[in-house]
């Protein structure tokens, strides 16, 4: 039961951060486009915007992975202690 609650919390966390990330990316786009298109042109602008979005997704995946792996390690360690008791 405890493992399931933990997994549900991870799913909810991932969902909230995914929505927050999407809002952040698309809210910052108009500002970025208006700033960049003047100085670097539309093609480079697309590359820069895509690059930034990819970096944000990579950071998000890293946080997601670390959270889940740490949770798993702790759950397993708790179980090992239970077993040895």
């Amino acid at each position: 039961m405890r493992a399931m609650i933990g997994l549900i919390l991870i799913i909810v966390f991932v969902w909230i951060t995914m929505l927050a990330g999407l809002v952040l990316i698309f809210a910052s786009l108009p500002l970025l486009i208006s700033t960049l298109s003047v100085s670097i042109g539309r093609t480079l602008e697309s590359v820069v915007v895509t690059g930034m979005a990819l970096i944000m997704v990579a950071v998000w995946l890293f946080i997601w992975k670390e959270l889940a792996f740490n949770y798993f390690s702790r759950s397993l360690a708790r179980r090992q202690i239970h077993k040895s008791d």
């Binding site: 969902w15 995914m18 895509t50 995946l61 992975k65 179980r79």
Partner: protein
């Protein structure tokens, strides 16, 4: 709207009936030709017919004919759905018979995106929650082949326990249908209803104790079908949310191993069987971290209990998917 609801119900019933009738026939054929695999999570490791997902492929494809009969003007979109998904099924069959390998498989599945791109049945203006419509004319077509490969492989990687693939995908597809009706993508909802019918019929045979296995044919087909439906129905974010357990499982496995892998390549299994038939998380650090191993971190469980937990997680994701669609302007 009533016509679409009627066609969706007909597609669901036809797909369910065809799949239900075909599974025993396909199963006998596979057993006769020794296309069987050991059910490794049972103490006596019984041999179960593989590649029975062919019945789902046929059942769903027949149901698309029903949708076409109701709405002939959507013939291109229906044909694209059939071609793109059958490509994934063929890749699955080839992998079972010739061993394509974990790196080439996603590339071949991505080829299924060709009809979507060539016939331009996608709309590169996806809607996101709180933001509304966006314009992704350059990125969107690039993401389509990736989306197909990701969804197909994610579903394939969760097809590890009796009923886990059919159970979790049935819940996800149900949520996707609701999201499509909210979005107004009724033609895609009818096609999705056909997929749901096939999955439900197959689940009756695949649930614990399994009498048939879907094989890569079935799991890659179902995954690719979900990916294509997300694009046709314009419910991309809701689909990602509904498929959270599948995506989590695939991502954790890839992150732990560090590359694309086949289950057979992994020498240290993520779960091990106890003498009483229950399954336990492997404590060996070399074992990949999978969703099953995370569920089992809390203690040993029977196989059907793990599947039940996976389906429960799918229900949570499905609920979040519907909320996501409601939040989408």
């Amino acid at each position: 709207m009533l016509g679409w609801i009627l066609s969706a119900i007909c597609a669901l019933i036809v797909s369910f009936a065809v799949t239900f009738l075909l599974v025993p026939i396909v199963s006998r054929f596979m057993r006769r030709h020794s296309i069987v695999g050991a059910d490794v999570h049972k103490p006596d490791r019984p041999l179960i017919p593989e590649m029975c997902g062919v019945a789902v492929v046929l059942g769903v494809t027949v149901s698309t004919l029903i949708v076409w009969l109701f709405h002939t003007q959507y013939v291109v979109r229906i044909a694209v759905f059939v071609v793109a998904t059958v490509v994934a099924a063929i890749v699955g069959a080839l992998d079972r018979l010739t061993k394509i390998g974990p790196r080439l498989k996603p590339v071949l599945i991505a080829l299924g995106a060709a009809p979507i791109l060539i016939l331009a049945v996608y709309v590169p203006y996806p809607s996101f929650p709180f933001i509304g419509g966006t314009r992704l004319t350059i990125i969107y077509p690039i993401l389509i082949p990736i989306a197909l490969a990701v969804t197909a492989n994610s579903v394939n990687m969760l097809d590890v326990f009796n009923g886990s693939m059919s159970g979790t995908c049935s819940v996800a597809v149900s949520a996707i249908i609701i999201c499509m009706f909210i979005r107004g993508s009724v033609e895609a909802a009818s096609l999705a209803a056909g997929l749901l019918g096939g999955l439900l019929a197959f689940h009756l045979y695949n649930r614990h104790p399994a009498r048939v296995f879907a094989g890569d044919v079935g799991s890659l087909y179902v995954g690719a079908a979900i990916g294509v439906l997300a694009i046709l129905g314009r419910v991309e974010v809701a689909t990602v949310t509904a498929m959270m357990p599948q995506v989590m499982n695939a991502f954790y496995g890839l992150a732990a191993v560090g590359r694309l892998y086949e289950r057979k390549e992994i020498s240290t299994r993520p779960v091990k069987m106890l003498s009483d038939g229950r399954l336990e998380a492997n404590t060996d650090s070399r074992a990949p971290i999978t969703l099953a191993r995370m569920i089992l971190a809390g203690g040993p469980l029977r196989e059907y209990e793990i599947t039940r937990h996976m389906v429960s997680l799918s229900v949570v994701s499905a609920t979040l998917a519907v909320i996501t669609q409601l939040l989408t302007v």
